[in-house]
Subunit: 402 residues, 4 copies
């Protein structure tokens, strides 16, 4: 409604402008009993932070997160987790020329048209700096999932920059190679090509678009409410919220328009690899004669009828080129009535997907956990706990904390 | 949450299964004072209904809507509008073979995995029959918008079927040509090609995918809340909810990944065509020296920073091929443990976009109206009314209705 | 937001005006696998329906409910349950005099002030007729709870009419005596007095206020989210929604203002009655040395810190006297500018609590079930089911239903 | 859902435990262009803060608020306002004895039963310390309303402590006398009596209950959505959320049960005091022949049919006695199985209503503003602004802020 809330049972509420005093996120609905440290969150923020390499903005933000509530003696308490990240290296002066002379294709004009004002420093609320909040919330969601009975893992990488496209990679490649290079492409050779391309545009004072491939393994079957709360619809909202997103696809995505039903449909077979005893454990009943029905292939991207099949959920997100570029452009000043030239100096990323990788992963963790809670797979009150049992609280932190 | 609600201030809540007794939608948050007739709703339902042509299912549904509340003497009263469409031509028997033997790539298995049961006739709740509710709600939204002070118009057409792609068309083409042919493609020559292609696949017992282009003109600038409630994120959810959707794009969409910032960015200029007196009316203040800032071009699809610019909002939605096809496929029966052949007879569309056009338009009307209400452009209580004024109610329908 | 939705995971969305065509309610979020028949719902509606006795309105409504979706072969499917009740005996003509001359203390004026119009027949949307929807939804919630592993029971009765107050009664009295008399007071002698009092006011063309006592037994400890979603806050909303409600209390209620902490506080003791083996089963761990902590007494009304203690949840709801009375009153016509006398003929209840009893019970069932789902006590997808298991669907209703 | 969010369009999201690092609140949906200073918020926090007098806890909290976002150069920007208050004087050691031995009637046990753990210092999340967040949000809402076109004012005072009841006071008394004494009772003589009573219980190591009367003047007619979002239902939720609340009433409240319809109903008359030209301005049409219909009296508490009439909205909230008292009580330790004596030392208020007054006022401001936005009376995007106009942003704070 107000644009700063995402999730239903697991939910983040954010605030902050690029050059405001601080960014903040409140995570509501995190079950109690999850081991959570500041380091768990910081590790993800460090993947997203500026100044990591030559191809990211040089803004020097430590992005040190402070956890104000909801965690005691290293475990979550079930109450809201308030986190704050101070903004340290804002240099707003450089943005003064754009106060009434909007940068081309940035949110400058639309924010002013909506609110009659805006925090104009660094792009204010429209800046991708906001995603620091998302990554912090995603880090919490990731911990909950990792400590649950489910073996879910989310990975993303940069699969295209400009016209340089990575070949298909395995999930193991995503695990091993994504963080090896500045571009965060899991295919090392392509990463090198992408790096070269980016630097070229950067030198020209220009920027370039790209895309992120994401994949979630281990998502159990049966998640997602039919229709408007289908997994595809909610991922659509989650990922189209990412700054600069212009296309969201899952499974065959845009290509599906060219496939026939017969070619795209995937027959069902029994999953014979499945151990019978597992099957028994799962149902609590007599074992099935055969394994679970399983589709031959995953062109459907892990989602059928809006609900997960148990196959990996995967797709792509396209991010347009950063709009803030040093190259000459033209704009108008609506106060003075002047037409003028504009060269956006400041410190800006020449390409978005590399730093977008942890953002996309965070949104996936948040969305998947939310579906897990809504589908009764993880108890909303307490992880691995017995509802209504009071048990022993975590130990008092210190005997002398008066 | 439960999957059957969409919208925040203007909101629809739906129910119904393909072969259940009836489909129903409750429209909440419609302002009072909007002229609304059953015919207004029926006209849109007729565009969507089955059996319109050779390339739609032959199921014979009149789809006659009944309005149970919220309208009095031809005007909305501000209270919820309950609508019901009876299902008349359900033939569930044909679906019995699939009760425990799921059709390939349909929602049969995932619904059962989620709920442990499902209304299996005609695909039950997962059937695209549900969209009859959306079109009814969209028809209400359209009336509200058309009777408001704003001149907003939404049109969609089928821009690709298989590998047959329509050239770019004008908004006037959309207005004039879309409804002229069964495919609902605004480019008549392409429509003919598409028709041919569809019939070919139909003859083979197969189906084919396609896509829908949509465009909304007259959407005022400044709509959309930053971030998770941006226009792009909410459209992402709205349109990825459409049955069979696999990709959502706006503006340059997927192609944006290949564009540089300089090429994609659009300079600002003054809109000199704008009449000074208009500008004066709008602001209530002294006229601006020059027209409004306006981007040179609309590669941004009417949305910058998640908020509308005032340029047309446009994009594309990809729908995969219908999964129910007569061609032979294979499946398994999880009850008997048998592997078997399957030929989905029943009555099914060989392609989805032609009937999807009114569905997409409906979702856009609902989404845009919701943003208009949230942004204070249309009063949530009463259209063109003075808040707190009680005035004269609509005339009693009849003196002798006791 | 729009006033016609209640509940979070278990949720009802309603529509309908007193003299409109039909009342309708969509129940979203009902788990699959619950045995549910039209008769289950009808039985509760019959308790609420008009014309039951001399002290209810003589409007002759069969209130026959139709279930349009969400149930198959006698079991819920997890998808929305759409229900409709036709209005059969509306006589709107009698309301014409009030179109622009509001009845004293009724919603006539405020509805017109909000919407600029209103469905004026029978009070339209402001009529207590709306509660037929609530009772239908409550009947569904009751079935879910009764078929769950929990032994929760909700009962209400009329504990005061005018100055006639019932003595405290036991839960068994509520079970046995409430439905024995027209007043729905579980204390038969008081019921007789109340009946007499009501008839007296009725004869005078007047009406009278009263209150309802409610109690829920078996509500497990640990339900309710801290703060704004506490059990007390949500019951506050739920019950203050009941037409004519002017006061909501739980536990000591209003009297608590006169109690000291020491007198109101309840010491903790071990519940020695508790069977050790039960305790073992519940926790899955070794049995506790002693029983559960249990407060000595229940002045706290089953809620501490906004969360349930496991003791019965009880309280009171006050309903003011019906405003539609035959006795002479004065009003003004805002259209003609006339001051005039008014005698509200129509068919009206002389007192609200007797028919309010099933309404209050319904709201409690809905609210409690919602908390059970939110707290992970009942799986939101399927009752007693194994998440992700697809098992056997309910049997096809008939082999020849084509 | 998660208990830490309140409001629909104007919305607060809170976090924090009594002895955690900090309390925090995010205010979403505040229109842009509202003058707002840290001092505006601090002034309200100072009314609520501990250590103000002998009859409040001696905990020494400065409660200094920091505003992290959403405000620029003294004006709101329409984006979320993040506020943080550090906890400075927490002495958790004193609470160690209660970790597994719950204080009588406090939330200690229920929180542990729900979450399996809790932040046990100072009552953690169940502490009334949380209301510091509400008061901060209320201060923002108050500024929005005060700077709007509406002349709405909310006041509350303590109208009963134990059996000492204040006589009815005027709104002017509320304005003038409430803040004059430590008890915050607008009737000075009664305030003195209350003070004496409180001190007496305090000396005995006991505490006492009480109640708060609230009144909102200038609330325009026509606010509130029918039924579940009625003003009475939403106030019911808002105020029953206040820690220790056990009863909520409006208008005649609990007494209404003893009134007849004829005595309680209020006839309509024309408000002849109303200036004709005002009426003309408001409607934009020809002036009405007579003033507005107005009820003779306000036993209805400003709400009819759930919607405001334009008369003052008033009611009462009962708060039970604080449960943390030095007097001897008994409890059990669920870990050791011991029964034991308990004397809650720490620093606690002997009575809640005096510090509850600003909390109740805050909840009313938040609720009323939310209804104003939902009813289209205040534009959700910008106060007094022209939707879609971009105008001039607030002046850059400083030329040299790089």
């Amino acid at each position: 409604m107000n644009g700063n809330e995402f999730g239903r049972l697991f939910r983040m509420t954010t605030y902050g402008e690029s050059h405001g005093d601080a960014m903040g996120v409140t995570v509501s609905g995190c079950p109690a009993g999850v081991e959570l440290s500041v380091e768990d969150v910081q590790a993800e923020l460090d993947r997203r932070k500026p100044g990591q390499s030559m191809i990211t903005t040089s803004r020097g933000e430590p992005d040190a997160v402070v956890v104000n509530s909801g965690v005691q003696d290293g475990y979550t308490t079930g109450t809201p987790i308030g986190m704050v990240v101070q903004n340290k290296d804002a240099r707003s002066g450089k943005y003064e020329p754009y106060v009434t002379a909007p940068r081309p294709s940035h949110g400058d004009f639309t924010y002013s048209a909506k609110f009659g004002t805006r925090n104009w420093g660094g792009g204010g609320r429209s800046s991708a700096r906001e995603t620091v909040n998302w990554v912090a919330a995603g880090a919490v969601a990731k911990q909950v999932i990792e400590q649950s009975d489910y073996d879910i893992e989310v990975k993303a990488h940069v699969n295209q920059i400009g016209d340089v496209e990575a070949p298909e990679v395995s999930f193991d490649d995503l695990r091993e190679h994504t963080e090896e290079n500045d571009v965060r492409c899991a295919h090392p050779e392509t990463a090198a090509e992408m790096q070269e391309l980016i630097e070229e545009y950067q030198k020209e004072g220009d920027s370039i678009g790209g895309s992120i491939y994401f994949e979630a393994q281990g998502v159990p079957r049966g998640l997602g409410a039919p229709r408007f709360d289908s997994v595809s619809a909610r991922l659509g909202q989650a990922l189209m919220s990412v700054p600069a997103a212009t296309a969201f696809e899952f499974g065959l995505g845009r290509e599906a328009r060219e496939w026939t039903g017969h070619d795209r449909n995937e027959n069902w077979e029994f999953d014979e690899s499945e151990s019978q005893s597992d099957s028994e454990d799962a149902s609590g009943d007599e074992p099935r004669a055969r394994g679970d029905p399983r589709p031959v292939g995953n062109k459907h991207g892990g989602i059928q009828g809006g609900i997960t099949t148990g196959e990996p959920v995967y797709g792509e997100l396209t991010l347009h080129a950063p709009t803030s570029i040093p190259k000459k452009q033209r704009t108008v000043d609506w106060e003075t009535g002047e037409e003028k030239e504009i060269q956006v100096v400041g410190r800006h990323d020449p390409v978005l997907p590399p730093r977008g990788v942890p953002v996309v992963e965070a949104m996936l963790y948040v969305t998947i956990l939310d579906f897990m809670l809504l589908g009764g797979r993880i108890n909303p009150d307490r992880l691995d706990g017995q509802a209504g049992e009071y048990d022993t609280p975590y130990h008092p932190s210190s005997p002398d904390n008066e």
